[in-house]
Structure formats: structure tokens, C-alpha cells
Amino acid sequence: MRRDKLAKNVVGIFMGIVSIAWFFPIYFMFINTFKPLKDVVLNTAVFPESFYFGSYVTIWENTPYLLMFKNSFIITFFSVLGIVIFGSMAGYKLARANSKWAYFLIMYFILTLIIPFQAVMIPLVKIMNNFNLIDSIIGIILVYIAFGSPLAIFLYHGAVKAIPKSLEESATIDGAGPYRTFFKVIFPLLTPITSTVVILQTLYIWNDFLLPLITLQSTANQTLPLGTTALFFGQYGNKWDLGITAIFMASLPMIILYMIMQKYIIKGIVSGATKG
């Protein structure tokens, strides 16, 4: 018993240290948004003596921040929406279809998960070019949906298997058609998986640098990670004060999203693991 307690305390202390270590970058980022460039470079770790809002003002007034934010938001929102809709419906249908083909398909989707993005990067750009999807927001959304769906299908597939079939049969008898059965009865029961998928994919798409870099060329289509890098970090010098502020502003929506969805994601990971 005493050893258990000791082990628990050690783990607790360790976890405390880890969380502080994880917190520090955010803390540094946060305090440096309130410093002029000189202080950012010279006194990085020091808490600012007076709060300087110049960086925020400069970004707001002199850069197309709002446009980049809008692009990032549209791309992330519609990609995640697409992944959730297609992933859940496909996962549902594949879990319920009782055929060899369904098994083959789900295996196929799982296999695609092990292919790294970099391996398909060049053919992807070529194919997108053929379809006239380069430098188009719709194009990048389609690609994100394609890349995000397999994991979503896999997660939804497992969760649907745990839902008794009689629920759907009951809904059918009660007079709901297949779509209504799915959206009114099945989909609400998949909320934990949906929040897992939403968090994972939103984080990935919102922060993604590589795909926008190789497919979005014009300034009008730039996303936050891409635009921030292009604007503030360059060959002839880094505007650390503005860069840090822009990145901090970009990470705020993610922090808020995570705080809202946090309790569901834990549920989602657990329920996905134990089929419960």
C-alpha cells in the first residue's frame, strides 16, 4: 500500500515537471507578444516591465492577417466538416455491410494510414495540377478530406460496431429513413469519436505548413502558417516580435477549441479503445 502511494507521488511529480516544461513555450510566446523587437531578442525570458501592444497593432494594420485567418478558417472548417461527414457515413456503412468487400475496403483504408505524406507529395501535386486544383482553396480542402478520411473511417468503424443494430431497426420501424436514422440516432451516439476526429484533424490542418506550401501559391490564398512565415521570417532577417505575436494569435483558436472539446476527447480515446 505504501509503495503504491509512493509510486503515485513519483508519477505525480514527474507529470508536474512535464506539464511545466510543456507550458513554458506557450508562456514565452505569450509574454514576448507584449515586447518590442529589442526586448524580444535581448530579454526573451524576462516578464515585460510594461505591456507593449505595438506588435498586435502592426499586424492588424499592415498585414493581410484577417485574410490569412479567413483562408485558414475556411480550409480547416470545410475540410474537417467533410472528414466528419464522409468518415462517419463511410465508417457506418462499412461496419454494417456484411460482405467481403467491406472488409477489403476497411483494410485498404487502414493501409493508407501507414503511407507518409512526403511519399505521395510529388505525384499529388501533379494530379492536382491535371485537375486544375493547384492554388485553389477547394482543391486543398478536397486533398485534406482525402487524407483525413481513412483515420476517421477507421475510428468510426470501430465505434459503430459497438452500437447495437436493434437501434437502427427500431428507428426503421418507427418510421425514420436511412439518412434520418443515421443523423438522428447513430451520429449523436458517435459524439466522442466525432470530437476526437475534430480535434486531431483541426490541429493538423490548422497548423499544416507543407501542403499549403506546395499547393497554394498566390498571396490571396495563403494560410496562417504559410503567410506568417512568408511575412516575418526571411532570408534577410526575422521579425521575431511580429512573428511570435502572429503565431500566438493563430494558436488562440486551437487553445480555445481544445479547452471546449477536451472532456470529449478523453472520453473518445477511452471509448474507442474499449469498444464501450
Partner: protein, 365 residues
């Protein structure tokens, strides 16, 4: 009118024949129970009425309407599932309102109907709760409630009590019977529990391997099972089957084997006169085995056996006996003072014997 008729219904799953030659007329307001061991096709038959399984061949009618191609929602039926199938994310009220919402009824009517069903089932105070906050019995009431609000022509119930504990099952059984009396609707009820079948059904349909074995009133089936399967399936404890030879003595027919001798009644004798010297199967229910020896000796109905095990179950004692090579059981009053591993003599009435053909397993009477 909500009669249900099955006409030459067949159901195959690929190569496997699940149901065949299924012909049955269920009358308006009747409580019919499908009973049989698992895999006998009882649930499949029910699910075909519900529209959850396609019919391979034959027709099913509800009233005058052939429903083979009618969508489940237009069949005006309601189904109660073994695992309740309540929508976990909806409150009890929303669960019960769901079928009415699908029918696009107006809000006031939905509320009225849900509340009145809740009142019948005594679940008014749980209407705002989610299913997970209810006990098994309450959940099953909600499932019934969801069926009642639809005011269906036919209720279909697929083992609705199997998930409940024994005590609650007895209570819900009574409530179901009461409910049927109150609603006056046709009910088709599926169970593997022969006690549920006997207590609930106006008529019982016994199924085995996708074939109807016997249809009749519970007592009728209990009294006159048409074959060995039905005889063994209904009644608890189950009927004893003893292989005997028919022997003719003094113008009487006796079914005899080692340790067992029974004289056939006149009616039985008449039916079996062609089976002299042949083997038959004699069935006798444990509760028909008696202690009244004088009468037994007088009529020549005797069982000489050794008591193997005696199980006291309250007023009655359930004794397991060995006669010759065969094992039989008997249900006797506990005050007889049975001693284990001692020889015992028992008797029975000739009328309580059930006689079956050894090859076809069909009853002679």
C-alpha cells in the same frame, strides 16, 4: 382488423433454410407466442412481419393487405426488442415521442399520447430522464411505451423479458398480460422460455428447425403434445421418455420394460392394436408419477426404481430415479420422506401416458 396470416412462407439465408412451410392464421386481438429453442426461426418469423427480414417466398398479410413489399413504417406495427433498443441520447419522453415525430404529428397530440402511455406504464416521473438512469424493468417499460404511443395494429415482441432478472420477469409477465387485456391489440411474442409461452399466450406456436411443430392453446399443447419434441419442450420439469415394448396379456395391452410396466387404457388400446410386440416411446410427466401404490398394483401400473438424488424445492421434492438402464424424474410431495439411494415403488394413471411412434416420434393419440 389486425389479423396476421402467414401463407406458405419460406426464408432462406443463402443455402441455409431458416423457415419453411410456414402457415399460420393469427386472429384479431390474439396474444400468440412463438416458442422454440434458439435457431428455430421464431425471431426470423417475427422480423419478417416487422419488415426487418425479406421474405424469400410466400406471403404475409396484416388484415387484408399483403405486406411483403410494404415498408416497415407503413405496416403499422410496433416492435419491442430484447435489449430495449432505446435511443441512449434521448430522454424517455423523446424516446417515446420519436415514432410520433416521424409521423409528423403535432406537438399537443404527441404530448397527450406520450403522457397517457406513461401513465398506463407508471413511468410518468421518469419522462425527463435518460435511459441510462433507469433500471432494467423501467427501460423495458419505456420500450413498451414507445410501442404503445403508436397505437399499432400489431405488437411484435422479441424476447422482451430475457434481459430482466427472474423476479422482475415474473412481475413484467403479469403486467404484459394486463396490458394486452387493456389495449386489446394483436400481439406476437417470441420467447425461448416455455413458462412465458404457457402463461402469456392465448395460443402457442411451437417451432423447431424452421417448422411449426404444433399450434394450440397452452393447456391443449401441454395435455396433447403431437410429438416427442413438443412433449419434451413444454412443461417443467420435462417429460420422461421411456422406450417400451407393447405386450399383450389377458386381452390387455401393456407397455413394458425393465422396472416399468403400464397398462394402456381402452382408448389407447384401440389406437395401438396394430403395434403389438413392437417398440414404442412412452412419455410421462414427472408430476403424473404418484405414490398411491394400492391403485397402481390394482391396475398394473408400476415403476420399480432406485432413488438417485432427491432435490427439495419447497412443497415438492424433485426426485431423480433409475429404472433399469433409463433415468426418469418425478415430482412428489415433500412429506413423503424420500431417502436417497433406496429402492422405491411408484405408480401413475394410464390416462397420463403419452404414446409416441418410435420412428416418426409422432403421438398416437
Amino acid at each position: 382488423m389486425a389479423c396476421v396470416s402467414f401463407r406458405n412462407v419460406r426464408k432462406d439465408y443463402g443455402e441455409v433454410k431458416c423457415i419453411h412451410d410456414f402457415n399460420l392464421e393469427i386472429y384479431d386481438r390474439e396474444f400468440v407466442v412463438f416458442v422454440g429453442p434458439s435457431g428455430c426461426g421464431k425471431s426470423t418469423a417475427l422480423r419478417m412481419v416487422a419488415g426487418l427480414e425479406e421474405i424469400t417466398e410466400g406471403d404475409i398479410f396484416i388484415g387484408d393487405v399483403r405486406i411483403n413489399d410494404v415498408k416497415p413504417k407503413n405496416r403499422n406495427i410496433a416492435m419491442v426488442f430484447q435489449n430495449y433498443a432505446l435511443y441512449p441520447h434521448m430522454t424517455v419522453y423523446d424516446n417515446m415521442a420519436f415514432p410520433l415525430k416521424m409521423q409528423k404529428k403535432n406537438k399537443r397530440e404527441i404530448e397527450e399520447r406520450v403522457k397517457s402511455a406513461a401513465k398506463i406504464l407508471g413511468i410518468e416521473e421518469y419522462l425527463h430522464r435518460k435511459p441510462k438512469a433507469l433500471s432494467g424493468g423501467q427501460r423495458q417499460r419505456v420500450a413498451l411505451g414507445r410501442a404503445i404511443v403508436r397505437e399499432p395494429n400489431v405488437f411484435l415482441m422479441d424476447e422482451p423479458l430475457s434481459n430482466l432478472d427472474a423476479k422482475l420477469r415474473v412481475q413484467m409477465r403479469l403486467e404484459l398480460k394486463e396490458l394486452h387485456r387493456r389495449l386489446q391489440t394483436t400481439i406476437i411474442y417470441v420467447t425461448h422460455d416455455q413458462i412465458e409461452a404457457m402463461t402469456l399466450g392465448d395460443r402457442v406456436v411451437v417451432l423447431k428447425d424452421g417448422l411449426i411443430q404444433q399450434v394450440g392453446k397452452p393447456y391443449e399443447i401441454y395435455q396433447k403434445p403431437q410429438n416427442v419434441f413438443v412433449a419434451g419442450f413444454l412443461g417443467s420439469p420435462t417429460m420422461n421418455f421411456i422406450r417400451c415394448q407393447l405386450i399383450s396379456e389377458n386381452n390387455e395391452l401393456h407397455a413394458k420394460t425393465q422396472g416399468f410396466s403400464g397398462k394402456l387404457s381402452n382408448e389407447q388400446k384401440e389406437k395401438l392394436k396394430e403395434y403389438k410386440e413392437k417398440d414404442i416411446v412412452v412419455g410421462i410427466r414427472p408430476e403424473n408419477i404418484l405414490f398411491n401404490l394400492e391403485e397402481g398394483i390394482k391396475y398394473g401400473n408400476l415403476i420399480n426404481a432406485n432413488v438417485d438424488v432427491a432435490e427439495l424445492v419447497g412443497a415438492d421434492t424433485f426426485i431423480h430415479l433409475k429404472t433399469g438402464a433409463q433415468s426418469i424424474s418425478a415430482l412428489v410431495k415433500s412429506d413423503y420422506g424420500i431417502i436417497e439411494e433406496k429402492p422405491i415403488q411408484l405408480t401413475f394413471k394410464s390416462e397420463s401416458l403419452h404414446l409416441f411412434d418410435i420412428n416418426t416420434e409422432k403421438a398416437f393419440l
